[in-house]
């Protein structure tokens, strides 16, 4: 059972949830709630935004200010929310399709702007909700309903993408290590600037079934054995890293945050006296 404080943050009337039993997304929900609670956040001052997908159904279960927007666009909505009321804590949860396909443009620009929002990318390497089509993070050779012979597209590395685009906190964990998930999400929430926490999730229903990871346990075992800590990875060769998932904190830096920049601008032109 989750801690009682966690139960307070849940809209319990909607359980059991709509995710398939064993779906990786639930572990991330729990980690986000623990991170929010441990960061001392209040429900009425916390906004959880999302796009569309299995992952993006998460806000419906959280008893806070929640908004389920359009596919891929949640960061643009979240940007408006945060800029309009910087006192709100804004966590934006999204799938790999949301983040890296239809929402790719919003994602890189949110990174560049360094607005104080925490993006939690729930990467299951597939379009879960729409029935297992290939996503921009589907590994080369992996099968999907729209890649029946195996994907021939190189996938995105979401953390590298975030880093390249200028995110000031970037970390990756997997659902096989919920404690690390929680830690990175908490660090992301407490970081002043745009944070990206990629959590490698699992979808046994749509991805595993076609890729020799039929059960939730197959997926957890895979994530456990494939994970390599960043410190260790740096001493490994490219061949050794083939098929591995590097976990750790990739970026942690301080640069001016967007909404603070805007507040300064308001101050400078006399708007704060209005």
């Amino acid at each position: 059972m989750p801690r009682p404080e966690v139960m307070d943050w849940l809209r319990k009337q909607f359980f059991p949830h709509l995710w398939c039993p064993g779906c990786g997304h639930g572990i991330i929900l729990h980690a986000i709630l623990r991170a929010l609670i441990d960061s001392g956040k209040k429900r009425e001052e916390t906004v959880i935004a999302s796009g569309i997908g299995c992952s993006s159904r998460m806000p419906g279960y959280i008893d806070a200010c929640t908004v389920h927007t359009t596919h891929g666009r949640s960061l643009a909505f979240a940007t408006g929310i945060k800029l309009s009321n910087p006192d709100l804590t804004v966590v934006d949860v999204m799938g790999d399709g949301d983040c890296a396909a239809i929402g790719g443009n919003h994602f890189i620009h949110a990174c560049r702007r360094n607005i104080n929002i925490t993006a939690v990318v729930m990467n299951n390497n597939i379009y879960g909700m729409t029935g297992g089509q290939a996503s921009p993070t589907t590994p080369l050779g992996a099968k999907a309903t729209t890649a029946p012979y195996g994907s021939i597209e190189p996938p995105f590395d979401i953390c590298q993408l975030a880093q390249g685009a200028g995110a000031t906190y970037v970390a990756r964990a997997t659902i096989a290590n919920p404690v690390l998930c929680e830690k990175y999400i908490k660090n992301g929430i407490e970081h002043k600037g745009f944070s990206v926490v990629e959590v490698i999730s699992s979808c046994h229903t749509q991805f595993g079934r076609r890729n020799k990871r039929r059960t939730p346990l197959d997926n957890l075992n895979f994530l456990k054995t494939a994970s390599v800590q960043l410190a260790k990875a740096s001493s490994m060769s490219e061949e050794e890293l083939e098929g591995k998932i590097i976990i750790g904190e990739f970026v942690r830096k301080e640069i001016p945050e967007y909404t603070e920049g805007y507040e300064k601008l308001i101050e400078a032109v006399g708007g704060s006296k209005v």
């Binding site: 200010c65 643009a76 408006g80 309009s84 620009h109 708007g271 209005v274």
Partner: protein, 378 residues
């Protein structure tokens, strides 16, 4: 107090009208011929403790504006043809989630990139049906720079009152034309702000309309209420539903909240209609030309009348039907292949002959051309 006199472009007047209405957030993306609206907002909003952001595209521009409105700020976005197309999906979210918002489309020629610096009226049906699914549209078509200012105020009032997006369909000529704008200093414009919930946070149903007006109050993120917003069809609590009764209730209410107030929303202007045999129905910049043509026709002894759509949507159908009963011909000059003429035909119910008159070359009608057409059809 002395009135303030300005010599403004339509776009500039519209932006100042929005500010006067209390708009304190603008999210957008540059596109001709609308960019001046964003430019004024970028300059003025921070001075008023408002927020401006240039987003990465039009989809994000409207998304940011909707997000800001969720926190209680009056918000706006402005664009033109290609950008208006991009905004349609998120516009639908604002209809479904009942988020107040003003969207401006300064019409240019289309389809596609079309004619970035030329006038058209080709988006008026898109205003009505652009986003998928049933929804009730409120759209204004100003036809002077002064009216751009006033329409912005009106549009915000309607958006706040009915908790939904309101569209302003301006056009390239109006947007860039300079005219005198008088801002009255002794009479403040009427400003409507969204209704706030009166109940405790735990009892707040974000989509439960009040009995007295059938309109739901709205909380803001950050003001102590916790609630859920979704583009999925939802119940009064805002949570997704598959219950046919709840679905029907929501879908109907989205239409009814505008339909029930139709008579208060619909606006039009007329001149010389009492004995008119030839009625000219027009809107936007074309209405200016049409009015000149009708006056010229009257001088020539022709029984011409003028009817201007101030609201394109809801369409003044009953009003047009009443006039159609007394007139023989209705002429509808438009800078498109014939859009509002279809609506006019529907309204006229065969009581008068409805004749389209279309110009699609990127130019505006000349009064003589409309006059000639009046003589021809009359």
């Amino acid at each position: 107090m002395k009135n303030e006199i300005n010599f403004w472009q339509g776009n500039v007047a519209l932006a100042h009208g929005a500010l006067a209405a209390g708009c304190r957030f603008f999210g957008g993306y540059p596109i001709t011929p609308s960019s001046e609206i964003a430019e004024v907002m970028a300059e003025e909003l921070p001075k008023l403790n408002g927020r401006f952001i240039q987003m990465e595209d039009e989809i994000a521009g409207i998304a940011a504006a909707i997000g800001a409105s969720m926190t209680g700020r009056k918000s706006m976005t402005a664009t033109s043809g290609p950008g208006f197309s991009l905004k349609q999906e998120n516009l639908g979210l604002a209809y479904m989630a009942e988020i107040p918002l003003v969207v401006v489309d300064v019409m240019r020629g289309g389809p596609s990139t079309g004619l970035p610096t030329s006038i058209s009226q080709q988006d008026v049906m898109q205003a009505r049906w652009g986003t998928h699914g049933d929804h009730a549209t409120i759209a204004y078509a100003p036809s002077s720079v002064q009216e751009c200012y006033e329409t912005a105020i009106k549009a915000f009032n309607m958006a706040e009152r009915f908790r939904q997006p309101v569209l302003i369909m301006s056009d390239e000529v109006l947007g860039h034309m300079r005219e005198r704008v008088t801002i009255q200093k002794d009479i403040m414009p009427q400003i409507i702000n969204r209704k706030r919930p009166a109940v405790d946070p735990d009892e707040f149903k974000p989509y439960k309309p009040d009995d007295k007006d059938n309109l739901p109050p709205m909380a803001s993120f950050g003001d102590g209420y916790r609630w859920h917003i979704t583009g999925l069809t939802h119940n009064e609590w805002g949570f997704p539903t598959n219950d046919p009764a709840e679905i029907e209730k929501k879908t109907r209410r989205l239409m009814d909240k505008v339909n029930a107030y139709r008579d208060e929303i619909v606006e039009y202007e007329t001149e010389s209609i009492d004995d008119a045999e030839i009625l000219v129905v027009s809107y936007g910049s074309v209405a200016r030309t049409a009015l000149s043509a009708v006056r010229m026709a009257r001088k020539k002894g022709l029984k011409a009348g003028f009817f201007r759509l101030v609201t394109l949507w809801p369409f003044p159908d009953r009003e047009i039907e009443n006039i159609a009963e007394k007139s023989r011909v209705i002429l509808v000059p438009e800078l498109n292949y014939g859009q509002m003429v279809l609506e006019t035909e529907r309204a006229a119910h065969g009581k008068a002959r409805v004749v389209p008159y279309n110009l699609v070359n990127g130019e505006l009608f000349k009064p003589e051309e409309i006059l000639e057409k009046i003589e021809e059809v009359g």
